[in-house]
Point group: C2
Chain length 248, copies 2
DNA sequence: TTTCATTTATAATCTATGTTATGTAACTAC
DNA sequence: GTAGTTACATAACATAGATTATAAATGAAA
């Protein structure tokens, strides 16, 4: 639990938003000055539930989270995985009733920011509001890309695509490099995200390993053959809408 | 082709946005005063293409549109169907490169509104901007719901769910009532939206008819057994985030 | 070090849905 | 009114991935 003047927690937010936009110093400062309350949560713990009407949103500072909805007979669909810098329930700012649940994958440190403060920020700095809007639009673009996978790609292509996506998301905020990244979700989680059974996820993982494309051990993914992976999964990063920056 | 002072074209936009929000007279007037250029398009015509960087967005005045992306070997994933009042490419206001294509299903009348005018509107009336943002968030909520269907529901449940959703969307803007609505897409389109082959879509339609749940003829859908349909498809309209209005 | 729970691995069997093929009905365009 | 085109319907066969079952690793807890 930290005080409202804790600036460090929002640097991860600035870093994330700067992967899809640019800010002036004043805008950056306004984001860093947002009030927030930090908390550490256990793995597998719900943060906001389907049906809730939250009055704050949740910034991930460390660890992983995911969004899901449960159906009858134990079926579950996972919509997204989230990492440090993400605000996975930013949509609750304008959709007052949650239509799904947000939960932790790993132990996670999260900062809660009051909706009221977010609204004041977007009113005072409409250009920051536009970036937050943009962030929710990228979120939607990722949903569309997942729809393509679940609807029209093989299990092999789907899993390879997810791995490429997660690697690039982590790399874009400095949490991965050299085609190596953390990947803490279970095979059941991967299946529920991609519309597959855990058994079939396991089969495909063996296949990916057998072909020498990846290593996946102790929650660490290494992609050995990036080009083959993006080709096999028809991966094109356009949909992530990263801000283009001069290389260097 | 109409002049910039054509107010009637924006009344369908106001009607649509009032299905998910409320406006003051001044806000309503500001929306009606947006400049636009109207055009009539043939069925199956692309409006904005994957890779384009449009400087306007497209308001549907009449007819149906849909969004899709094509993969290799003729595979196609449809992301959404759109009706009068929708701005299917509103996301292009903040995502500058299209990551999919928008096209007409039927002959359609559309109004193009310059991004610049939309930006000015959101700057002058932040509350209107919030409603437009909200509209893109509902769009994303519908993507999530489709992911559930494609990932975790049977073909039967998916198709029934789509029919319930389209009926409610049309009803909410006064384009349907009595569980009867237009449904102009082909069985191939339905398959590409729900991750099914056209053959299987046909099988399931026969089954829906055989059980007396629906009639579907000449692009008109009638849902005879609403309760059974929503039960079979696990349909819960919360995700559409309609503005609650006092019944009357 | 043993216990308990979770995750991963693997095999055998089954099924929902895909694929291919063909015919018919409904529109469109002269 | 006929030709061409598109959409719908149906059958036979094929398969990707589901289901069920079991057990081996792994890791946390005591």
């Amino acid at each position: 639990m930290t005080s409202a003047s804790d600036i460090h927690s929002k640097t991860v937010l600035v870093r994330k938003l700067e992967s899809i936009a640019t800010f002036s110093d004043e805008e950056r400062q306004a984001i860093l000055s947002l009030p927030s309350q930090t908390r550490v949560l256990k793995p597998g713990q719900d943060i906001v539930r389907d049906g809730d009407t939250p009055s704050q949103c949740c910034l991930i500072l460390d660890g992983w989270a995911y969004r899901y909805k449960v159906l009858g007979e134990g079926r579950r669909q996972i919509f997204s995985f989230h990492i440090a810098g993400d605000i996975p329930d930013l949509q609750s700012l304008h959709l007052h009733t949650m239509d799904h649940t947000l939960a932790t994958v790993t132990e996670a440190t999260v900062a809660f920011i009051p909706h009221q403060s977010m609204r004041e920020l977007t009113m005072r700095y409409p250009s920051v509001g536009a970036v937050l809007w943009r962030d929710t639009l990228v979120d939607a673009a990722i949903f569309r890309e997942w729809m393509i996978g679940i609807g029209r790609k093989s299990a092999f292509g789907r899993i390879a695509h997810l791995f490429c996506e997660m690697y690039l998301k982590l790399e874009s905020v400095g949490l991965a490099s050299d085609h190596r990244c953390p990947l803490p979700m279970t095979q059941v989680d991967i299946g529920d995200a991609l519309g597959l059974s855990n058994v079939h996820v396991n089969r495909v993982l063996q296949e990916l390993r057998g072909k020498g494309l990846i290593t996946l051990r102790s929650n660490t993914l290494v992609i050995h053959a990036w080009d083959e992976m993006i080709q096999a999964s028809e991966f094109d990063p356009t949909y992530l809408h990263f801000e283009q920056r001069a290389a260097g």
